[in-house]
Amino acid sequence: MAAATDDAGDSNEMIRVVSSDGEHFEMPEAAANLSLVLRHMIEDDCADAAGIPLAVVAAKPLAKIVDYCTKHAAKSSGLTIEEAEELKRFDAEFIEVDTDMLYDLLVAADFMGVEGLSKLAVQRTADLIKGKTPEQNRETFGIVNDFTPEEEEEICKENEWAFQITKPPSRLC
């Protein structure tokens, strides 16, 4: 079917993908090419009418990713300054999501190899957690504290200044 095209922007072929929970999505080939995984599948002739199955990406994040890729593929080359600004605004609004969706996007974009989106989600996550305490972070990431209180105290002492947060935290260290 869809042979590897060097000029992805001109291809009108629609690529179908299927989420882990069985929902079907369609996007232009140029958009699908922004995902490394999808591009390889297309190049290997694995894109057919049944759609490419994405076993670990659920419908909710996949819908967002299709949106992202479609928007970015339409504006991939020769951007004017205004278009670049608009794309930046799109990104900023796009990533204003709750933490559950953010982590879904983090993992899904990484899995699908959508570089721009990965960076966007990683930066957003970093912005969210940078002012937080270690304890708040454990909660966010679902991590269990495997230090003894003594060990934790010890690490705190090495760089005490780093544990002084200006915002009122629930627990410092």
């Binding site: 933490t99 559950d100 982590y103 879904d104 983090l106 993992v107 990484d110 990965s118 990683v122 930066q123 996550t125 970093a126 957690i129 940078k130 002012g131 937080k132 305490t133 270690p134 972070n137 454990r138 909660e139 966010t140 990431f141 679902g142 991590i143 269990v144 504290n145 495997d146 230090f147 934790e152 690490i155 705190c156 090495e158 760089n159 200044w161 780093a162 544990f163 947060i165 260290c173």
Partner: protein, 202 residues
């Protein structure tokens, strides 16, 4: 190095298992202060942050940002009461007020500093007259080391010191060149070189 496998998650809302390479990407984009603080999150995060790989990537990442720290070396020539110290002054950009974030007083008193040297964000400050005190500091982590005493230079007493990375071992090294001894009219002398290797995270 794993966070929690999905089955053991405590909270429903943290519904995703974040693989280590993604956690690493997130941590790399944090300010140094947050990175230091998050060493207490769990053992796998602490191990990740301590790895030379992380340190190297973090350095590459921070090189692309604009510097935000001013280092002031104050000696006897400066107003009384400020003597003998190194000040780290944070500067976040045009229009923002610069703030003193850290200050380090040197024990023995300093008359004159040599021009500070820098390498990979580390600052080497040496007092001008041999045998000089040599300090290496990392403004990002506020770490501060005093190097072991160097051999005095008999030529002019002026400190000749270099600072760089050994590309073979990727270690930071400080080199001191000196004249070890000589006769009175300098017709017979012996020159020397001392090399100090800093720890890989220094």
């Amino acid at each position: 190095m794993m966070l929690l496998p999905p089955a053991k998650r405590r909270r429903k809302s943290a519904a995703v298992y974040i693989p280590d390479d993604i956690s690493e990407q997130v941590l790399l984009r944090l300010p140094v202060k947050s990175i230091l603080r998050f060493r207490t999150v769990c053992k796998s995060w602490r191990a990740m942050i301590a790895e030379p790989r992380f340190v190297r990537l973090q350095l590459q990442m921070s090189e692309s940002r604009r510097p935000s720290m001013l280092i002031l070396l104050l000696g006897n020539m400066d107003p009384h009461g400020w003597m003998d110290r190194i000040r780290f002054i944070g500067y976040l950009g045009y229009g923002k007020v610069a703030q003193l974030v850290h200050e380090r007083v040197c024990s023995s008193g300093v008359a004159v500093w040599t021009r500070p040297l820098q390498c990979d964000g580390l600052i080497l400050a040496a007092t001008a007259w041999s045998p000089s005190d040599i300090y290496v500091c990392n403004p990002a982590t506020r770490e501060f080391f005093e190097l072991p005493a160097v051999t005095p230079d008999v030529l002019d007493g002026f400190q000749k010191v270099g600072f760089g990375v050994d590309p073979w071992t990727v270690e930071h090294k400080v080199v001191q060149c000196l004249m070890r001894d000589s006769n009175k009219d300098f017709t017979s002398y012996s020159n020397g070189c001392e090399v100090f290797t800093l720890g890989s995270r220094a």
